[in-house]
């Protein structure tokens, strides 16, 4: 499978396990406003899991800047992840 698809699956898997959201409902606009379980605490859990999953480390500015799934992808791309 293509690298990008794999990474996307990985991201959706992490979102599913932390935010408890079904992958069919995930799109770039998914945000704390639309996902019920995406509170500030789960947001931080998400950081930890994404860092583990993609072997990256976000800066505190990047963490604060994230408002939706699209932002997460941007950040990951910024760290060289093909997604």
């Amino acid at each position: 499978m293509e690298e990008k698809t794999l990474n996307l699956q990985k991201l959706n898997g992490i979102l599913k396990s932390v935010i408890k959201i079904s992958p069919d409902l995930i799109n770039d606009k998914t945000s704390p406003e639309t996902a019920e379980n995406w509170d500030s605490f789960n947001g931080l859990m998400l950081v930890t899991e994404l860092e583990k999953g993609f072997s990256v480390r976000f800066t505190i500015d990047e963490i604060i800047a994230v408002t939706c799934v699209g932002d997460i992808k941007d950040s990951l791309r910024h760290h060289g992840i093909n997604i």
């Binding site: 500030s40 605490f41 931080l44 859990m45 950081v47 930890t48 976000f58 800066t59 505190i60 963490i63």
Partner: protein
């Protein structure tokens, strides 16, 4: 059990870990987390606060250094003498809130964290050249807490500094999460903290493990007896034998604090015992083992037999075996046994045991420390019993001497422990914390007795206790139990006799004894009947017996020498 955690920062994430781990141990504790932004003062000084409403049996009080001494870095500006005063002040604050809690909830236990000593001081390498450097002032605070609460049965100090030191003070915190959300412990370390907490809970519940069941080949030594000659076994100062040597040393230290060591090995008995007896590098000797099973039976059956021989529950046993098949077998047949997944890396064996955290008790009684020795003596007793045909002759021969006394400061920990641990000869199986025993002992309407036994083979220590509540001319036996180690020596008769005599002296006319049936105490169901009590009331969960004290005219078991304290 109701468990509260009161912390000065965000620690809610520990809740699911605590639940998961305690459910694995078979418990369904009610756990609540409280976060305080006022140094816990409102939560603990206001007896209407949510904590008191929750009424916890155990409270973990986790005040961290940043909250207690936010001015830590400013301590650099003041002299040693003044630093001491700051610490005095902080210490008296802690004391005040802890004592308020113990006063409001005398039967609860509070476990207070000590403070993680910062690895940084602005004084740098000069810090320890001052009379009281910055780091030293925090160490002093920890020391004072330890000293002050040492003899307080309701307050335990959790060595948080040891915890952070062992995993690394810098590893534990993710500064981004700290600055973003006041999170001071990373998730993976919260899990370890939860494990540490449960070690306390299980110990307070009397659920600590008592016995290690050990495989031999590739566990106590490297190599296989059936395949290698004894001189080729890996055990000694050179690698990899030194890893096994270290493992044995750790096991011996557990033996010396009272944990029973037993052997469960598939081998020819003669070959294996020869190694234990004769291998010059063996740290563990035959006399360190309370039970030995070296045979070709399956290991689960052996574990059951060992439990029966030692009169302990399989749920108090820990099984160590390098062989995955044996571990799987024991896990599926005896899930209540703690089967430890040791890898095939002997260099980690010692550390795995050290990190198990299942053998702890909050207070080690004298009985605990010599328990493993007592079991060896017990084996001698069994042999003696075989040699003497008549049981009474055997008891005569033992030259038993028992002492009965009332609970006091020095005996309360052991009495509480007996109520927690005794299952078989226990009429009511009521569990009491040390604080509860203490309050019963000081109540004029109740009396708490303990019984101490020794004989020519050794001193067994305190082996039983009884609690009786007296109101005017009637009395109720709340608790009556004898450690299974000494059962069948009429010690129980002596204790009951004393209880009745004392009650009689206080003008009691009728004594009620209750039997609360459990899965394990069936042997006590007719105890009162055999001692002249009449049946008063019987239902599925309780049988009440009554004794008309006037009619009681039994005497002491004559072959026992009895001292009354």
């Amino acid at each position: 059990m109701k468990i509260a955690i009161l912390s000065t920062f965000t620690i809610q994430m520990i809740l699911p870990k605590l639940k998961e781990l305690s459910e694995k141990d078979g418990f369904n504790h009610e756990i609540k987390i409280f976060v305080s932004y006022n140094l816990c003062s409102k939560e603990l000084t206001d007896n209407q606060s949510e904590i008191y409403q929750f009424a916890p049996d155990v409270l973990f009080l986790f005040i961290d250094l940043d909250s207690l001494i936010p001015e830590y870095l400013d301590l650099v500006k003041i002299k040693s003498e003044e630093r001491r005063k700051v610490i005095d002040l902080k210490f008296s604050y802690l004391l005040a809130i802890v004592e308020k809690f113990t006063k409001e909830r005398p039967a609860s236990t509070i476990i207070i964290h000590n403070f993680s000593v910062p690895s940084y001081s602005p004084l740098g390498i000069a810090d320890n050249r001052e009379a009281v450097g910055l780091q030293r002032s925090i160490q002093d605070l920890n020391r004072r807490m330890e000293d002050y609460f040492k003899d307080n049965n309701s307050v335990l100090v959790f060595d948080y500094d040891g915890f952070t030191g062992s995993y690394g003070k810098k590893n534990i915190i993710d500064r981004r999460l700290y600055f973003l959300a006041d999170i001071k412990i990373k998730a993976e370390y919260l899990e370890l903290l939860a494990k540490n907490y449960l070690n306390y809970i299980n110990s307070l519940l009397g659920k600590s493990k008592k016995c290690l069941v050990l495989d031999l080949d590739n566990t106590l030594w490297g190599g296989i007896i059936g395949e290698d000659s004894p001189s080729n076994l890996k055990l000694g100062p050179n690698p990899p034998g030194n890893a096994y040597l270290e493992f044995q040393k750790v096991l011996l230290s557990l033996f010396n604090k009272g944990i029973l060591l037993t052997i469960n090995s598939k081998n020819n008995f003669d070959d294996a015992i020869k190694v234990i007896r004769e291998h010059p590098q063996m740290v563990l000797k035959e006399k360190n083992f309370s039970a030995i099973r070296i045979n070709w039976q399956d290991k689960a059956t052996n574990i059951r037999e060992i439990a029966e021989e030692l009169n302990i529950g399989t749920n108090s046993m820990v099984f160590i075996d390098d062989d995955q098949y044996n571990r799987m077998l024991v896990k599926s047949v005896l899930p209540e046994v703690l089967t430890v997944d040791i890898s095939n890396d002997p260099t980690m064996y010692a550390d795995i045991i050290k990190e198990l955290m299942v053998f702890d008790t909050a207070n080690l009684t004298q009985e605990d420390k010599v328990r493993s020795k007592l079991y060896a003596e017990e084996r001698e007793r069994r042999e003696l019993q075989h040699n003497l045909s008549d049981f009474n002759d055997f008891l005569q021969e033992l030259k038993m001497e028992i002492t009965i006394g009332k609970a006091d400061e020095s005996t309360i920990p052991r009495i509480s422990q007996l109520t927690q641990k005794t299952n078989q000869f226990n009429l009511t199986t009521r569990r009491y914390s040390e604080a509860e025993i203490k309050s019963l002992a000081s109540n004029t309407n109740s009396a708490v007795y303990h019984i101490h036994s020794k004989d020519r083979l050794g001193d067994a220590g305190i082996v039983g206790c009884a609690i009786i509540n007296i109101e005017n001319d009637s009395a109720t036996i709340d608790t009556f139990l004898i450690s299974c180690r000494v059962l069948g020596r009429k010690i129980e008769d002596a204790l009951l006799h004393h209880l009745i005599s004392e009650a009689k002296n206080r003008g009691v006319k009728a004594i009620i004894g209750s039997y609360l049936p459990t899965k394990k105490n069936a042997q006590t169901q007719n105890f009162y009947k055999h001692h002249g009590f009449d049946l008063l009331e019987e239902s599925a969960d309780q049988v009440l017996w009554i004794l008309n004290v006037e009619n009681y005219n039994s005497t002491w078991p004559e072959f026992i020498k009895i001292n009354i304290n």
